[in-house]
Amino acid sequence: MNAKSISAQWRPAAILGLLVLLLIAPFVLPTYPLSVLTEILIFTLFAMSLNILLGYAGLPSLGHSAFFGTGGYAVGLLAKYLGTPAPLALLIAVVAGIALALITGPFVLRTHGAYFLILTLSLTQVLFGIVWLWRRVTGGDDGLPGIPTPKLPFLLGRVSDTANFYYLTLIVVGIAIATIAWVVRSPFGLALVGIRENERYLEGLGYPTWTLKYVAYALAGGYGALAGGLFAYFKGFVGPGQISWLLAGEGMVMVILGGAGTFWGPAIGTILVLLLRYEVSAFTQRWVMILGIVFILTVLLLPQGIVRLPNRIREIRAQLRREAPLPRPTAPAHHTPSERAVERVIERS
């Protein structure tokens, strides 16, 4: 029995354990760490939505904050002008994110590689500019303050407000992550990986690659907007900073550090970046440098992301013992070449 199947065997137990830990967290953690944990959950969703593009479909987007900000402003504007209840507002935020992706998709998907990166970045900056200059509606650089924090009615009075919003975030993010897991493991998700590896090949096989990328772009936009809407509720505020490309860059770093194209990688990257930001900045001013050093070390030592750390340690130990490399699982026979391509990817990573 090899290492991979052992980890596969324990996966349900690990996820269950994680869920229990997340559920009891409010009873163990004080208020401040709990709010950091809430933020980690929200940004995990953001990073995972970006990972659909960056990791699975191989589309290097540097404009994902546009969707995050769209979700945030949808929630903020609805709260300010209409007083819409949170579930409906979040739903509209998702629709707004998907709509933005559907509108911009036909343009950005004409470009490739570096041009894709710059076009997504440019469009995000243009959106930033519109929000910044349209002061009458968006509040300009002052943003929209005073968004009321929604609360779960059945927990009212039983737990603190922080814990209440934490549970709300946990439920929304949990459902979203479960659906992302379903999407990336579906034939659609596998086809995306195939597009990343060799788009023309998939096209030759008759896959509608453009449509698949378009759908992936829209999905990523919807999930990104959901994260942005939650964040606006979390902060009680939405401003141009939530559209800024710096946020898109941070999301990109979270995905790459954790492991692009792996399911749990973005979550690990998010935890690392946010903990570095909040914990390291508390005891040294040089945290920017530390973040830079972490980037470089990760790229040099763990090029496939921190999520591969256990495998990497095993590899290094095997090398040290001068043993033969670990036996690789033999690829089972597959029916379609696309699945074989995916298998190759998995094997390589």
Binding site: A114, L117, I118, S122, V126, W132, M252, I256, V288, M289
Partner: protein
């Protein structure tokens, strides 16, 4: 009339700086598909070192040389130390060079502080002169001259020499160039170092105009990315044309509608890429 000689001079002198920062990025990008997000940091290093040398020696030309050499050293370190092993891994390149950019920004903030630093132009180029009926700073005019000379030099090097032909061939088909027995890795290293040198020179030259502060690196990095992509990857002519277009648009919008100046350039970039997904002068990929 808002578009007068003065704003033209300001725009074109800014274009000179943009060209110096972006030409190396463009060729490296085109040649090895290498995304260097530490380009702005090289400009920053050139600016700070230039400022310090000018302060201590009082010699502006020594400052230019020192700034360019400092950026060259850091560029060679980046290339030798990291880049060689990240061929064709764009995401990792982004992450690594971003890490370098973070470190450079933090170290320079540590040494030179967070306030913007400005350098006075050399004695010879101080003050202003009259050009076509408007008063313009002499240093800006000199910058345009230096930029033009360097642009011609770089253009000649890449478009008219044998060595330049290797580089251009590498942009088009790297594997084939290697098959012909040309040491593409060395060509790449030289291009990267020259690019870093020009970046540092741009930083030192730009200190009297743009000043240098934490954040200058990000601003120049973003502008350089726009220039490179608008001009088309690996195209020197494209980099020249795009530098001028971007700088002029930036300057003109700044006079008309100051709050929107930063976004106008991005709107331009978005528009060009929507109409021509391969950039202004780029070859279809």
């Amino acid at each position: 009339m808002p578009v007068n000689t003065a704003s033209l001079v300001i725009g074109l002198s800014y274009a000179s700086l943009l060209f110096l920062v972006s030409v190396g990025l463009s060729v490296v990008f085109g040649l090895m598909r290498f995304v260097n997000l530490a380009t702005g940091s090289l400009y920053l290093i050139g600016g700070y070192i230039g400022w310090s040398v000018a302060r201590s020696t009082g010699n502006f030309f020594l400052a230019l040389i020192a700034g360019a050499l400092a950026a060259l050293v850091v560029g060679v370190l980046i290339e030798r130390g990291f880049l060689q092993r990240l061929h064709r891994k764009e995401l990792l390149q982004v992450c690594l060079t971003l890490g370098v950019a973070y470190i450079v920004q933090d170290v320079t903030r540590w040494i030179w502080g967070g306030d913007p630093l400005r350098l006075r132009p050399p004695e010879l180029l101080r003050g202003s002169m009259e050009l076509f009926g408007s008063v313009v700073p002499i240093y800006r005019v000199a910058l345009i001259g230096i930029g033009a000379v360097l642009a011609v030099l770089v253009w000649y090097l890449l478009e008219r020499t044998k060595w330049g032909a290797y580089v251009r061939a590498g942009v088009d088909d790297l594997e084939m160039v290697q098959c012909l027995g040309i040491n593409a890795r060395r060509v790449f290293a030289i291009v990267f170092s020259l690019g870093a040198l020009l970046c540092g020179l741009g930083g030192a030259l730009g200190t009297p105009v743009t000043g240098v502060a934490p954040g200058t690196d990000i601003q120049l990095q973003l502008m350089a990315l726009i220039v490179v992509v608008l001009g088309g990857l690996g195209s020197v002519t494209g980099a020249i044309v795009a530098s001028i277009v971007v700088a002029l648009v930036d300057t003109i919008v700044r006079t008309f509608w100051p709050e929107a100046s930063f976004f106008a350039v991005w709107a331009l970039a978005a528009l060009v890429l929507i109409v021509r997904p391969q950039g202004l002068l780029g070859r279809a990929a």
